[in-house]
Every structure is written in C-alpha cells, then in structure tokens.
Symmetry: C2
C-alpha cells in the first residue's frame, strides 16, 4: 500500500535493535483518515472471503480492526490480555509472547462470541515473529470456526514470522513488508 509506505518513510523512526516507531500515526497517535483507508484496503484484499467477524488483540490493534470491521459490516471482537492465572470455563484462551515488550501474555475471548459457523479475519498492527496471530488463530481453532486469513499493517519480513505462517497455508496480507532496517534509519521494503 503505497500511501502507507510513503508515510513510514516520512514519519517512521528507526531505533537500534530493529525497533520501528510509528507512534505518530499508527499506534499511539492515530491518523484516522489513514486508518480508514487501511480498513478499506483490507476489505479489498479479503472482501470475497465471506468474513463474519474481525478478531484482534488489545490494545493497538483495536482502532485499525474497527475500521476493517466497518467495511465488512461485521462485529469486531478483541481478545483481552488476562491478568488472572485461572481461566474460567466460559472463555477460550491462548498464550502470546510479545516481541516489543519481552513478556508473555495470556489472551482470552469469551466463548459467547465465536462459533463454528464464523469465518474469522485476524487483524493486527504489527507482524514480527507471528506469535500474536498464532495465539489468535489458536482461539479461532478452539471455537471450531474457520480462519479466512490474517491482515497486518506492517510486517517485519526479516523476522520470518509472516513467511512461516504463509508456509503453513495461512493467507497473510501485510500492507507494508520491511525486509531490512539499518541503525542509521534506512528501510528497505519488499517488492518496492
């Protein structure tokens, strides 16, 4: 998505350790006009998949997934990070390791809102090692629902998570794939 790539080049900031900060427009301050166009683009990519529900994970995926769900005219469901050790019977749960924060989160989704007849599209802001998508896909699987695919805004291609998911047969679409970043701020995009 050229508009997004241009914005990353203009406003993204690269820090040592392969950290890309896009919090001026994507995941702290949000440029709503851009987020709306991102929602529209995911509809273009997955619009034929008969999606019945969009699934994301709190917190920074929620705003993006809202605009995706708006174009599909389906409900959005966001997995919550659970602080409690015990998981009640009325939720599906999985475990997600965060690359950014270096910790492990248990995520939960109420069983009430995912059913075997659902066709689920997973949406998230970043794809690095793919752990968040794996955790969400695990929950879709537990519900017996169908996973139509996953859409992420920015994929760190050099971390391999996206390609591993694609190799497993999952349809994964990222609007910008970064193949390399250097500490002096140069970003190389895939197919660009």
């Amino acid at each position: 998505m050229q508009l997004l790539i241009d914005r990353i080049i203009k406003d993204g900031k690269v820090y040592p350790g392969n950290i890309l900060k896009v919090d001026s427009f994507l995941n702290h301050q949000m440029d709503i006009d851009l987020i709306d166009k991102i929602g529209q683009e995911f509809y273009r990519l997955f619009g034929s998949c008969e999606v019945t529900k969009v699934l994301t994970i709190e917190a920074s995926g929620i705003g993006i997934a809202c605009f995706v769900a708006k174009y599909f005219r389906v409900p959005l469901l966001f997995a919550k990070k659970s602080k409690t050790k015990n998981v009640s019977d009325d939720v599906y749960s999985s475990v997600v390791e965060s690359f950014t924060h270096g910790n492990v989160n248990k995520i939960i989704v109420s069983k009430e809102y995912l059913h075997p007849d659902d066709k689920v599209l997973i949406i998230d802001d970043f794809l690095a090692n793919g752990q968040a998508i794996r955790g969400l896909a695990d929950i879709v699987n537990q519900a017996g629902a169908e996973l139509v695919g996953a859409g992420t805004v920015i994929e760190k291609g050099f971390q391999g998570g996206g390609d591993a998911l694609r190799s497993s047969g999952m349809k994964v679409e990222s609007l910008a794939i970064i193949d390399s970043m250097t500490d002096d701020g140069k970003i190389t995009f895939r197919n660009n």
Copy 2:
C-alpha cells in the same frame, strides 16, 4: 441516547456488586454500526468546541474514540498503561485507579503529541468514580493544552464520579447515565 439505552436494556447484563456487562456490543465484541452512531452523537454534543485532538486510554476506549475522531477529522491519541516504574522525560504521566480491575495503573502520553495550542476532548467507554478522566485531564493540564470536556458512553451515576467532575466545572456528557441497578437486573436511567 435512546438507541444506546435500548441496547443496554436488551443486551446488558447486571451482576452483583454493581457490575454491568456490555461486552456483547461495546467492550469485547463491538457493534461497529452502534459505535459509529456514538461517534456521531459526540460530534453533535461537542462539535462547536473546535476540538483538535481526541484523547482516550487503552484498551476499551480506543475503538469508540476512533469513531469520534473520525467525525471531528482530528487525530486520536490514546494514553498507554506503562509497566515500567521509571518514566522517561519525553512523556507526560499520571496515575489511574481502576474500579473494574481493582488496581492502579500509570498512564503515559508522549510529549510530542500534545501541545499548548491543542483543544482536547476526552472519550472513554465507562465513567464510574471518574479516575480515568481525572488522570487524562491531568495529562492535558501538564501539556498546557485546553480541555474542552469529556464524553463517556455509559456513566454509573450512582458512583458520583461524573457529578463530581461537573461540579468542578468540567463539561461531561454521558450518552446513558445509570442511576441505579438491582441484583435482579433492573436498571434505572437518569431522565428516562
């Protein structure tokens, strides 16, 4: 907002301890058509205030605030809950006690995204004791920005937080104000 009140009566669930669950349409699964109308209603209520930025707190406020920001055509900024004890120089921070989770969170906003010339509208899903709004207002104040008011979707009027904020001179608009709930599920709305 009658549409919202009707939905709370239809789909809200009351649990002992004054807990109202609206996670089938507001803060776990989200009915995007309703959220969009909520955004439109806040624009009707605050549209004349020359808002330059919408401010909320992760996680469940984000989706709602996105649609508010869409109608105002301004950026959304969401405060993050910080896990680290130390706060860096480049953020404003405050402290928020959560009624729902019974814990205390430090919240942070990057100084880059709030300025003295900003006119800020705070948006959140619930207003109970008002701690979240106080924390966000504290951050607006630290930035030297102007707070035009706060909008919340559901206010638990019987907890007094909203009225205390109004007494302090803040413009606070809640789309549904609950004056009482009984353990057998009866909800009484203010002015309704």
